[in-house]
Symmetry: C2
Subunit: 431 residues, 2 copies
């Protein structure tokens, strides 16, 4: 089955909005065994949309289009596609009623132009939108006159806003595709999330041992981002799940505790979960990461149970007043030193009465480096009830990447410190 995805929106082509729908939809379909073959972005203009839809229908079994279903003059997808397919637009009374009800619930006026959203191309199936006014639309294009050889294609139009698109995709479109198109039930996929190793290092460690399984149909892929690499194992067929599970066990054994999680896990999510399971709390003292580690932890619902708070100690005075770093340490060893990192961690742990604490200090750049301590130098201190230690890292990258990589290293130090399994927990490396 060939799937194509079209994202519409002039703001995307002006480059002022990053296309996050692409990754999300591609992932949903790939993890169900049907990767998107081609993704296209075009602006809101009629020729661009019509051309993209015509081209996609000329090749694909399923075409998913996002955006352009709203009530403004830029929202032309519905009308353009109805015209392209030669279908009249008919008002669906239940959709119009839904729009009126939704506006009433929100205490907002019903504008006449909203009624455009109740117009449905003849023969289309309406996908009700619980979170907005514009419904999704599903059209069976049969026979598909755009495709050499004809046949039948499915065309799904989804609203642009994520809060409307995501539930509609998961709750309505996926079940339909399961029945209607072969979203392969015999496909199985597992993604192992790792940090601390590069892609080629991982390849050296696992490609050989997995060679036989790959020859037998296991698909092995890597997705490298800065500071983490995903190992994706997938297979198709009656024994797919067993096949992937066997490979997963092998990779976990080979990579050990470099595997921090699976599939949708994040490093901060794993750390919060592990802390919660052990009824432990962590405090933070951040200098060069400037609050980014706190931000990552507090992105996880339930973080408040394990994270009392943190200090962002950008200045030396703040390191003293918030974490009690001795001025002698700052003057003698410097703000970027293992001693300061340790004192920050120990100080904030005491201040907030936490079980554990991280202290992070370094030189993010672009300024502030020296010959002895060049831009990229980092020290991360870890304080627990058993004492304090600090490690040195070197991340000579741009400022934003620096904060990301350093936060990965700090969270990973914390994860390792939590790795000694408590009773009832999985063994290290199987979070």
């Amino acid at each position: 089955m060939r799937i194509e995805l079209i994202n519409t929106g002039s703001e995307l082509m002006l480059g002022r909005v990053v296309n996050t729908h692409q990754a999300w939809i591609c992932r949903q379909l790939a993890d169900r065994g049907c990767p998107v073959r081609r993704q296209v972005t075009v602006d809101d203009s009629a020729p661009a949309i019509v051309e993209a839809v015509r081209d996609a229908l000329g090749a694909a079994d399923l075409v998913v289009v996002t955006g352009g279903l709203g009530p403004t003059r830029d929202d032309r997808t519905r009308d353009l596609i109805a015209a392209l397919l030669g279908r009249p637009l008919l008002e669906d009374p239940s959709v119009w009623q839904h729009i009126q009800d939704l506006m009433a619930r929100r205490g907002r006026p019903v504008l006449e132009r909203m009624r455009l959203q109740a117009r449905v191309p003849a023969g289309a199936r309406v996908l009700p939108n619980a979170h907005g006014t514009a419904p999704g639309l599903l059209l069976r294009v049969e026979p598909n006159a755009f495709r050499p050889g004809g046949g039948r294609s499915l065309l799904a139009l989804l609203p642009g806003p994520a809060r409307e698109l995501v539930p509609m995709f998961l709750e309505q479109l996926v079940p339909i595709l399961r029945n209607d198109l072969p979203l392969r039930p015999d496909f199985f996929c597992r993604t192992l999330r790792t940090t601390g190793l590069g892609e080629s290092q991982i390849e050296d460690m696992i490609a050989g041992p997995l060679r036989e399984q790959c020859a037998a149909g296991l698909d092995l892929a890597y997705c490298a981002r800065v500071g983490e690499v995903d190992v994706r194992l997938s297979a198709t067929g009656p024994a797919a799940s067993e096949h992937v599970r066997l490979a997963e066990t092998l990779v976990c054994r080979l990579l050990g505790d470099r595997v921090f999680g699976f599939d949708e896990d994040t490093l901060e999510g794993v750390v919060v979960r592990r802390l919660a399971a052990r009824h432990l709390t962590v405090a933070l003292a951040e200098s060069c990461t400037g609050g980014f580690i706190a931000h990552r932890l507090t992105n996880i619902p339930g973080a408040s149970a394990v994270f009392p708070g943190g200090a962002v100690t950008y200045s030396n005075d703040a390191k003293q007043s918030m974490c009690g770093v001795p001025s002698a340490t700052l003057a003698g060893q410097g703000a970027v030193s293992p001693q300061t990192a340790s004192a920050m961690a120990a100080g904030v742990r005491t201040l907030l009465g936490a079980d554990m604490a991280l202290g992070v200090t370094g030189i993010a750049g672009p300024g502030g480096g020296s010959e002895a301590k060049p831009v990229g130098t980092v020290y991360i201190g870890l304080a627990t009830g058993e004492g304090v230690m600090a490690r040195q890292f070197f991340n000579p990258v741009d400022r934003e990447t620096f904060k990301w990589v350093t936060s990965q290293q700090a969270l990973d130090m914390l994860r390792h410190a939590l790795d000694a399994p408590a009773p009832g927990e999985a063994a290290p490396g199987r979070p």
Copy 2:
């Protein structure tokens, strides 16, 4: 001129990496008057890449392809395109020398497979890569056999990593395109960055007054994201710059201080710049934003001059121990109250000896709401030498959006407090 962009990478089609190159390249070209007409993403497979390049050459004057130039077996773009165009690959000795020199400088071994990157399709122009091994390649496709009617197209192959792509694009490709393709010299574009108003509110305020200018060739576009809307003004022709400047002045007058900056400005960048210009410092006490405001401020190089630090006070204990919020306030008015927000701001201002401070407390959800204070309730306190005040907001959105919107509101309160112009500064609304 028609431009198409092709991003290659299986990690993009698996949806595990967000395609940020798309927005960046689209923006570079759009802001030079040549928006990308169609952007396509495909995986690393030979059929997908060949099909995408062939289709793009069939329609475009300029095709930009990113990714697939490296030394691994997934890097097939160069070979596939050479084959598609019927050009032999010839080793370029200067490229091979550059690869060896770069590895030597980095103290890394030269691997034989790296030599593949020195192979250049006959007739291609090499774009040297100062930050990596794989050069960019520029091919003149003339006559273009893929395009009905023939003609001539330009095909640019750029490396995937951003630190290699960005300088190569700006320093090498843009100057070439200026000479070689009409990157319109008579195009002028200005983006006004606003916060605090919705897209339709802005349209109501400016579309009427700009009607005449739009009829005379001014292009007016909106890019709405959560918590901010860009107003993009552009024009082409000998008077383009004057035309846009006039419109800009008018929009600035109509929107007043809702305009926080221009073009590449960010709200945090404007706030840091304004603080620095006035030699003021700001401290933060963050509860529900969990360090995100500190993260945004410290993304700006030079933030250390205006930001001594902040407290992330997730727990009530932390609000007391770090900011000195009285326990009576927490017990009486609650952690989410104007009194607590004010006390947090005043406390952290004193603790860190800052000129100004923000205190942010609210209920991000999904848990923690009540009838009196539902999920989304926010109070932001602002402390200065003149006293403390607090404002209420209501952001009933998902957790991540909540943090973003709340941080926008807090930074914007700070910006307004800084708006009284100091001597030599621009008037409010013209940051």
